[in-house]
Symmetry: C2
DNA sequence: GTCTATAGGGTGATAGAC
DNA sequence: GTCTATCACCCTATAGAC
């Protein structure tokens, strides 16, 4: 039983080290691009020669896959929980906006890679990622639809509205690093104010 | 004088062929990525061996530079003309929205490369591009500021509003190819309706 | 677990024949 | 203008010693 506890509860050193390497890779991929970053560079940053590096990573593409999952999986879980809350569509969209911006701001490297390099995923990895992205967009789409059904929103085309909302948020990764001091809560409020009420004086 | 006219007015065959190769490269870079596309592939698509190809292109990076300029230069010129019109800030922003979406929809490959691969530009090329992007964003920023000065808009933070506006538009390149039949005029109207008046029922 | 050596295959760019 | 041959260098991944 002591042995069982050690393998199931104690941290797996190999998995821990692999996690560190994933973060190192995310930083390199974000600053130089996936294709332009060599396995050698990742090894140098992790202080590991190539042979030892491959003991942890398996392949370069599996690092890319894990970077994607680290952003997408918590985002999907949180957005799903928020959508299930008993609150107005506007209130729930505001919360989704905030968790999305938190990922973009606090896991900036991973999000950059996620939004820039998903085409470097191949085969099943690519298809799995595509499905998760559709799932997230559907959560947002359904919130807009719920708002229209409740008479809370007036929307000409639901899909365009969803894509405008997601696009406005996602694009944040392009500039947020150059504006330090911006926080998810403030930005979420400003985006939501614009999206729900517009900027025209009334 | 006849000879002078021929060199200054008649089309330069080399420049024409180079232009065709730039378009071929844009299509390849957009579908596979800049780093993942080889000079050999560009040559195959253009039906030219490497030696002949280099006679036209100079270098791979100069192709990337020209793809950027083909999007940015007309956009800057049109946006500058629109900003100088005597019209409300909302009307002028609506026109800027439309020319931006026209570039995104009708020069989709070039825009994809432009928004995805600008980090592969080096040295002066990169700096020149950065300046042009700032120039475009300043045109949009000044339109928002003019709207506030006229009492037409109420905006908490000008720069956030500008970035939200630009981001909502730019992100369009990610999905517009999967929705055929979308035109710049319709999309521009929908984006502007959301941005100026919001989606909440009043 | 970590290393070095190497396999097997790319890359962008240029020289020089025609 | 277009070609082939080649330069110098890079890549991901694996084998096998320690």
């Amino acid at each position: 039983m002591g042995e069982f506890q050690r393998t199931s509860v104690a941290p797996d050193q190999r998995a821990v080290r692999r996690g560190e390497i994933v973060d190192i890779a995310a930083a390199l991929f974000a600053s130089k691009g996936y294709d332009a970053t060599g396995i050698r560079e990742i090894g140098e940053s992790a202080r590991l020669a190539r042979g030892a590096l491959y003991y942890y990573i398996g392949s370069k593409e599996s690092l890319l896959e894990e970077i994607h999952n680290r952003v997408m999986d918590p985002l999907l879980a949180e957005a799903g929980d928020i959508a299930a809350l008993e609150a107005s569509a506007a209130a729930r969209l505001r919360l989704v906006s905030e968790v999305l911006l938190q990922q973009i701001i606090h896991h900036h490297d991973h999000v950059w890679v996620f939004l820039h390099e998903y085409r470097s995923l191949t085969g099943d990895r690519r298809e799995t990622f595509r499905r998760k992205r559709v799932e997230f967009q559907n959560i947002v789409l359904n919130l807009f639809a719920a708002g229209v059904a409740d008479g809370e929103f007036v929307i000409e085309d639901l899909e365009t509205a969803m894509l405008a909302f997601v696009g406005m948020h996602n694009y944040t990764y392009q500039w947020v690093r150059r504006k330090p001091g911006v926080d998810a809560e403030t930005l979420s409020r400003r985006y939501s104010d614009i999206f729900f009420d517009g900027i025209r004086r009334r």
